[in-house]
């Protein structure tokens, strides 16, 4: 399951929540962070997630996929002769090419995701996962990121990179085993963008978009009649009651405009839309993700 969407919509929180949900269902699950910013680590206090599989709780694992480490691991798996590997790692051209070739980092990152999803893991003594959840890069880069294998397959035309890139492309576009979830916010432009993103993912990349999560939906705390009462209070009163009435009216206004956006998203999205509540919590830590995970049933 690949989780994507524009920046700042809560992809990481949703990814972790999906991971918790799958783990709770008894599936051995891993959440992969790809942008090397350790966002997911924030979600799990006291645990540093690096380029190794860390168990966070029962059935739930996490990894932060670092492209340099993935490249290293890839070479180790390709070249069995130690002397050759050492020479390659020391080689200036290799290091230069590895750092400078556009898209190579994305390619090896996807390669690692593929490796994690294999029933027959390439990495020695590694166990298999039932579910792999990828916290993918933001919108613009998201489409480019998922297209990388095809791009490489086209550039390389023949040879080992071609066939491996092809394998990765098939893996991403395998509708039976790989799905994409888009995370959106209930605002005008994010709704437009997620509709456009869904279109690009389906038409250009050819992946299966399974679901659109509308994140951060305000609860409907007040009715229209109540809002009228509160408007009168806000106009008449002073001090705390006035401020409280205003905050309530703010909530009412946002909840309403968000419902309108939800309706727009439902009209425009092809995949089913599922809503996730706005959490009135100062910091979105593991508890927030857990609460969301309960809403994902």
């Amino acid at each position: 399951m690949i989780v994507t969407g524009k920046g700042g919509v809560g992809k990481t929180t949703v990814s972790v929540a999906l991971g918790m949900r799958a783990a709770a269902e008894g599936k051995r699950t891993i959440v992969c962070e790809v942008s090397a910013q350790e966002n997911a680590s924030r979600m799990f206090e006291h645990t540093t997630v690096g380029f190794h599989e860390v168990e966070l709780e029962e059935n739930l694992w996490a990894i932060s996929i670092d492209p340099d480490e993935s490249m290293r691991e890839y070479v180790l798996l390709q070249l069995k002769v130690r002397a050759m590997r050492d020479m390659l790692f020391r080689s200036r051209i290799f290091n230069y090419l590895a750092a400078a070739t556009p898209g190579l980092k994305e390619l090896v990152t996807i390669g690692k995701i593929w490796e994690l999803a294999q029933l027959d893991r390439k990495v020695k003594s590694a166990r298999k996962y039932d579910t792999v959840i990828v916290d993918a890069p933001a919108t613009g880069h998201g489409v480019g990121f998922l297209q990388t294998p095809r791009t490489f397959a086209n550039i390389a035309r023949v040879g080992p990179i071609h066939s491996q890139a092809k394998t990765l492309d098939n893996f991403i576009t395998d509708h039976d085993n790989t799905g994409v979830a888009i995370v959106a916010l209930p605002e005008e432009m994010p709704v437009n963008e997620s509709a456009a993103l869904e279109h690009d993912l389906v038409e250009e990349v050819g992946v299966a978009v399974d679901r659109v999560y509308l994140n951060g939906l305000y609860p409907e705390r007040f009715s229209k009649e109540e809002a009228e009462k509160l408007t009168a209070l806000a106009a008449a009163d002073d001090g705390a009651a006035k401020a409280a009435a205003r905050a309530a009216l703010s909530e009412f206004g946002r909840a309403r405009s968000q419902r309108a956006q939800l309706a727009r998203l439902r009209r425009r999205a092809q995949a089913p839309v599922k809503t996730l509540p706005f959490l009135f919590e100062p910091d979105l830590g593991p508890e927030a993700a857990r609460r969301l995970s309960k809403r994902l049933a």
Binding site: S35, N192, A244, S250
Partner: protein, 387 residues
């Protein structure tokens, strides 16, 4: 917030280039458009540039679409929102691929080398969607417009990056790649690299060929050969672009949101700007929950007071609970912004409140514009006054 804290107009006084940087989803595009509109209202001829396939800028400026050429925004549209544009407001959405092609055409010594580059499969890939080229092309276009000198002020909305830092690093990565001199020597397709570079390099190359395939290596070699005539031109240009970015007439504004993660990223980005000796102008925090200052502890029995005034106990409970939620968010935002201001040693953090209406049109833009160009005190008053 001190009353002496500079306004955005003070910060931007005497500048020619403003670069709005920040991670995705923090309202960079809206902020860039509002800044450009504010400066145009003050009599400048301003152009706002974006690389934004999602057409956010076009949407928020009321334009049907934007292209690689600048378009003038109809001042009447702003007038209708109570903003008088004394100068001129222009906008463009740049097409990275087209900009890159134009750059190649300009740098190529002759038509043949131009076509060799344009038709190379590797060039076709890097000039399109791959990370790095967008950022580089944004700077390139900025430089071009600045050199032409048609505008008093250029406002750049940086591309939506995974990480704001990509914007600073990508051009360097890309130029390094294009300039790959050492590599070029090793990868001559004729294979006499061994004589030049010694045995180690050749063996490494043959190992690489085994992993990646000969075609790819050959394409790369061809790519570097095709570029060879342009490397000096690119280097010279990159130097001038960097000089523009570091000029005292340029100003980087960091845009972020009030949550922990965007704040941490903004702090990190600021540090990198300082390290790179790039001119930092200030920080804008969007969607801030303003606290209702007179409140906490003011009324010990808020639910009771509310129940009395509303004549509905259940509603009063909900209003009080909702208020407590909002206050908690406002307190969090205040804490985060204080941390941000301390880390950046910024005198005036510009806080744009979380407006009740979703900002996606000119009315919203005009509202954001008023907050951006107000003094700190005015902003607090405006936030308190809105219903």
């Amino acid at each position: 917030m001190s009353p002496k804290s500079p306004t955005l107009a003070d910060v931007l006084d005497g500048k020619q280039v403003v670069i709005c940087a920040g991670s995705g989803g923090v309202g960079k595009t809206t902020t860039s458009a509002a800044i450009a509109a504010g400066l145009a209202a003050r009599g400048l001829k301003v152009c706002v540039l974006t690389i934004d396939p999602a057409k956010r800028l076009a949407d928020s400026l009321g334009l049907e679409e934007l292209g690689n050429d600048a378009r003038r925004v109809d001042p009447k549209l702003f007038e209708a929102q109570g903003v008088e544009i004394k100068g001129e407001l222009w906008a463009m959405m740049l097409d990275p691929k087209q900009t890159f092609d134009e750059l190649i055409a300009r740098q190529a010594p002759d038509e043949e080398s131009r076509d060799r580059v344009l038709q190379n499969p590797i060039y076709q890939q890097i000039s399109g969607a791959l990370a790095g080229s967008q950022e580089y092309m944004a700077m390139e276009k900025l430089f071009e417009l600045h050199t032409e000198g048609d505008y008093d002020m250029l406002v750049l909305d940086t591309p939506p990056s995974r990480n704001a830092l990509d914007f600073l690093e990508a051009p360097r990565r890309l130029t390094q790649f294009i300039e790959g001199k050492s590599l070029k020597v090793f990868m001559k397709p004729t294979g006499f690299a061994a004589k030049v570079a010694g045995r180690g390099a050749t063996v490494a190359l043959s190992v690489m060929k085994r992993i990646v395939g000969f075609d790819l290596i050959a394409d790369l070699a061809e790519f570097f050969n095709a570029f060879s005539g342009m490397v000096d031109g690119f280097q010279a240009r990159a130097k001038r672009v960097n000089k523009l970015l570091a000029a005292p007439t340029t100003c980087f504004l960091v845009v972020c949101g009030p949550q922990g993660e965007p704040i941490d990223e903004a702090v990190y980005f600021h540090r990198k700007l300082v390290e790179a000796k790039l001119p930092f102008g200030g920080v804008i925090v969007n969607k801030v929950h303003y606290p209702a200052e007179q409140l906490r502890g003011d009324d010990e029995d808020l639910p009771g007071t509310l129940a009395e005034k509303l004549g509905d106990e259940d509603l009063a409970q909900r209003v009080a609970a909702n208020f407590a939620d909002y206050q908690a968010l406002a307190e969090r935002d205040a804490r985060n912004i204080e941390h941000l201001a301390r880390e950046m040693r910024a005198t005036g953090v510009i806080r744009v409140p979380y407006l009740d209406e979703d900002v996606h049109d000119l009315a919203g833009l005009a509202q954001i514009n008023r907050y951006l160009f107000a003094t700190g005190e005015e902003r607090v008053a405006m936030a308190a006054g809105r219903a």
